[in-house]
């Protein structure tokens, strides 16, 4: 198969029908399946219980869905990157979304009820050394934790607080938390950005730099 230029791809995929279109679709589908498998190799541990047939089916389903999306969006391709790189973004997005759905399908939503001070305390306690922290260090840590808890409890909206806990503390995917909050991933990012700006501004009001706080928690 001869390598196609960006213009070749766009021209072929813009055809309404015919052999040129069929061949381009077939070739692109092959590339998309392989790009999906490249992505999935980075998530091998999550696929440990999947059969090879199921993994290949996932890749083929994602490629088919992405083909439709790519053809629908072909007019937005500006030639600023290789056509295949531009196209792989669609199929990797599909595969990533599917993995996230599988990952969180049966996970409880108990974290929605977690309270801020105890979560902060758990975060800084887990994984610390067995040696006791010096008393003055401990006092400083507790003061910062209390301040952060107050900011998050009093200055953020309920939705901002849930977003911070879900994505930034619990490590859940943007898509999962967005679904819980009834938002798009894009809207959730904006919600979190506003929350981060708010917290940063309140810390600045207390003249606290990043170094001040990090130094208190260094081991």
């Amino acid at each position: 198969m001869a390598a196609r230029s960006n213009a070749d791809w766009v021209e072929a995929l813009s055809e309404a029908e015919g052999e040129t279109l069929s061949q381009a679709l077939q070739d692109l589908r092959g590339f998309l399946v392989r790009a999906t498998l490249v992505y999935l190799t980075q998530h091998r541990s999550e696929l440990a219980l999947w059969s090879q047939a199921d993994i290949l089916q996932l890749a083929e389903d994602c490629a088919q869905d992405a083909l439709l999306e790519i053809r629908a969006q072909i007019s937005t391709f500006r030639g600023e990157a290789k056509f295949t790189t531009w196209a792989y973004r669609f199929v990797i997005n599909r595969a990533a979304s599917e993995l996230r759905r599988q990952r969180y399908r049966n996970v409880s939503l108990d974290w929605l009820n977690d309270d801020v001070p105890s979560l902060l305390q758990k975060m800084v306690t887990l994984g610390t050394r067995a040696e006791p922290v010096e008393p003055e260090h401990l006092v400083e840590q507790q003061a910062y934790l209390q301040l952060l808890a107050n900011i998050i409890s009093a200055e953020l909206s309920d939705r901002q607080r849930l977003a911070v806990i879900g994505v930034l503390w619990e490590g859940r995917s943007m898509e999962e938390v967005a679904a819980v909050l009834g938002l798009t991933r894009n809207a959730l990012y904006k919600l979190l950005h506003d929350a981060r700006k708010r917290i940063k501004a309140k810390l600045a009001e207390h003249y606290l730099t990043e170094g001040d706080i990090l130094a208190a928690f260094e081991e």
Partner: protein
């Protein structure tokens, strides 16, 4: 495996708070720029002004960062001689070990 609460996550979160910019691009715009960003990185070119916000977004968005990792590896493999075949990748997935040749394609010499 999902990350759990940890001290490392707390410290990362603090770093993210202080790294927050007044204006940031959201996921949709990042996705539109991602292919250009990945190719600029692989070319080791200085990022154009319009692409710098992508890097900032990726530090704050785990979903976009995950997709960026996949796209970067695919683009890197393609630039280094082509994506592995389906059979080669199924063998990698079956073995449970991603070989160096897949994660770090040979370039140059």
């Amino acid at each position: 495996m999902m990350d759990t609460l940890s001290r490392g996550r707390f410290l990362d979160w603090l770093t993210q708070i202080y790294a927050t910019a007044e204006t940031e691009i959201a996921c949709e715009q990042t996705q539109r720029l991602l292919a250009r960003y990945v190719e600029a990185e692989l070319a080791e070119a200085d990022l154009e002004e319009g692409l710098a916000p992508v890097r900032d977004h990726l530090t704050h968005c785990p979903d976009c960062h995950d997709e960026y990792n996949g796209l970067r590896l695919a683009a890197e493999l393609e630039a280094g001689g082509g994506l592995p075949t389906v059979d080669e990748m199924m063998a990698q997935l079956e073995s449970g070990v991603v070989s160096d040749s897949l994660t770090h394609p040979v370039t140059g010499t």
